[in-house]
């Protein structure tokens, strides 16, 4: 109590000096210090927390006539670490977010199985569970980067990717319960959204690491992430991570459904198209400094960003500040999870001159992220999906950061 009243006296004294010496800019600053009154109590405890009203980070929403069949993008430049907050995970819906009562929701597993199964949410939660960190990336992420003029900021260029800790039952456990028959090769997963979005998935992947997930970052899935149940297919293109999962049909052939023929196939220069291109290849992007940022001044800045690979762990990330002429290894945040965002960091002293910042990553298979020119040389300009090119950002002498 004594300390506090002493401090108040000091502040009053400082303010008085300031008034007396108005000609001096240095003391004007002192005068601006306001007296701190007695502290008031803060907010009460509450049942469900919200972020500070000062935090405005938000998903990017496109201008569209059909927001029920659209995507929103994660503001990756605002993320810390590797986990995307649930309210900022990117969205892609095909007929809007359905309202599902978890008490009524069921998962049907049928087709080429010995024992077709109908499971309630309660029954699914009784089974052995796993929690694993995985990214989900839309196959159309960075579509803007095929063009000569890329997107202006990382939210728009790379925001169709997010990373969460997912909790659920391994699909292999459910398939063992149902008893997969010898001639089974595929399964077709279907959602309970109005359009019953579906995708075919190779049985080998289903028996490996697919999660039938009900948890996301410690809480239940958000409605826009498939509440109450979704597939998480590690490393595979986002569309195949079927949300609002209601049915798995085990088959001997793929369904050749709309989203694996008409969409999510890559047209090459010769007019042929690649089909069943599941894995998202290794990719990285610098999130600070990135498009839209303004460097506050010369001197130290930490370059940071995210790297990921649909084929395993990220092994190295290199950063260039001279547009790719020379490279330095960035520090990688541990632990590095398979098919998950990996945070990279590198200290940088900006000399106040122009700089072109770019990152490239290499995954555990030895594959290194290519440039846009590398990709176009083999695929042409019409493959649309799966753009994992390196992304340069231009730092101007005034500290403004733009798409290079």
């Amino acid at each position: 109590m004594n300390d506090r009243s002493d401090r108040r006296k000091f502040l009053q004294w400082g303010a008085g000096i300031g008034v007396a010496m108005t000609g001096c800019s240095k003391t004007e600053k002192t005068a601006a210090v306001e007296e701190e009154g007695p502290s008031q109590l803060g907010a009460t405890i509450r049942a469900y927390g919200e972020r500070s009203p000062h935090e405005k980070s938000a998903r990017f929403l496109p201008d569209t006539k059909t927001p029920e069949a659209a995507s929103s993008r994660t503001p990756l430049a605002d993320s810390h670490g590797i986990i995307t907050p649930n309210g900022l995970h990117f969205e892609r819906h095909h007929s809007g977010v359905p309202t599902i009562d978890p008490a009524a929701h069921k998962l049907l597993i049928h087709g080429l199985v010995s024992n077709p199964l109908m499971l309630t949410m309660g029954e699914l939660k009784r089974l052995p569970s796993v929690s694993r960190v995985h990214f989900i990336e839309c196959a159309g992420n960075s579509r803007s980067e095929w063009g000569t003029k890329g997107a202006p900021d990382v939210r728009q260029s790379h925001g169709l990717a997010s990373c969460s800790e997912w909790t659920g039952v391994l699909l292999s456990v459910l398939l063992a319960e149902a008893g997969v028959q010898a001639k089974a090769k595929w399964l077709i997963a279907e959602g309970d959204d109005p359009c019953h979005m579906q995708r075919s998935i190779p049985l080998s992947k289903a028996l490996d690491d697919i999660i039938v997930a009900y948890g996301q970052n410690g809480e239940s899935l958000r409605p826009e992430q498939g509440y109450p149940l979704r597939l998480v297919v590690p490393g595979y293109e986002g569309n195949i991570n079927v949300k609002w999962l209601r049915r798995i049909n085990v088959t001997d052939q793929p369904g050749m459904v709309k989203d694996e023929t008409s969409k999510y196939t890559e047209l090459l220069g010769d007019g042929k198209a690649r089909i069943f291109t599941f894995e998202m290849d290794a990719k990285s992007v610098i999130t600070y400094p990135s498009g839209g940022h303004q460097l506050e001044g010369k001197g130290f800045h930490q370059i940071t960003g995210l790297a990921w690979s649909g084929r395993g762990r990220v092994e190295t990330v290199e950063i260039s500040t001279d547009g790719g002429k020379t490279w330095k290894k960035a520090e990688l945040q541990e632990p590095r999870h398979r098919m998950a965002f990996t945070r990279f960091r590198l200290g940088w002293t900006w000399d106040g001159g122009e700089a072109v910042l770019v990152s490239r990553c290499t995954d555990e298979t030895g594959y290194t992220q290519p440039t846009r020119d590398d990709l176009i040389a083999v695929r042409g300009k019409n493959s649309d999906y799966h753009c994992n090119a390196t992304k340069p950002w231009m730092v101007s002498a005034d500290g403004k950061v733009t798409n290079a």
């Binding site: 063992a176 319960e177 459904v257 709309k258 007019g271 019409n382």
Partner: protein, 176 residues
């Protein structure tokens, strides 16, 4: 009462078959009600059928507002034309130029269209509108009826236009 007994019996069967014995065996009618799968060989196609002439009426009422007259495109994608454009700088990917299987069109229209009222069309209407789109693309003839037998037999122009994933396609381990 008989129904309840049947469910009880099958759930005991399921409980004994898996390692954990969690969940129950669905009744065949339950599976049938939920099973929307249509495979390229025609598996899962329902009874019924329709012609392009019938489909034109369905199209004009339910589809044209978004997809334009004669499916040439409007606010939403074109479903006709584009054949021969795939290897050019401006490819037009439509049902006629790109889709490898006719069954996909039936399946997608049945489950997802019209956008604001998916599931409103009868099987006959879906067959008919499928026939209309195929006929506009010159893939089937006027008057040809689409049903569970004829639809999977339709040969799409781009049937052989797809190749397996050939990645990695850059770097020292590139496949090409």
């Amino acid at each position: 009462m008989r129904k309840a007994l049947l469910v009880l019996t099958v759930s005991i069967v399921a409980a004994q078959s898996g390692k954990y014995g969690v969940g129950r065996a669905p009744a065949p009618e339950e599976i049938k009600r939920l099973d929307l799968t249509v495979l390229p060989d025609g598996t899962g196609l329902p009874a019924g059928g329709g012609s392009a002439a019938e489909g034109k009426l369905v199209y004009e009422r339910r589809c044209q507002r978004c997809h334009g007259a004669e499916a040439k495109g409007g606010d939403e994608v074109a479903m006709v034309g584009g054949q021969g454009t795939l290897p050019t700088p401006k490819p037009l990917k439509t049902v006629g130029s790109y889709w490898p299987h006719a069954t996909t069109l039936f399946d997608y229209v049945r489950r997802a269209m019209p956008f604001k009222e998916p599931g409103i069309l009868t099987a006959d209407q879906v067959y008919a509108v499928t026939a209309y789109i195929l006929q506009l693309n010159g893939i089937i003839k006027d008057g040809e009826r689409m049903d569970a037998k004829s639809l999977p037999a339709v040969r799409m122009p781009n049937r052989d236009g797809f190749i397996p994933d050939s990645r990695p396609d850059t770097g020292p381990k590139a496949k090409r």
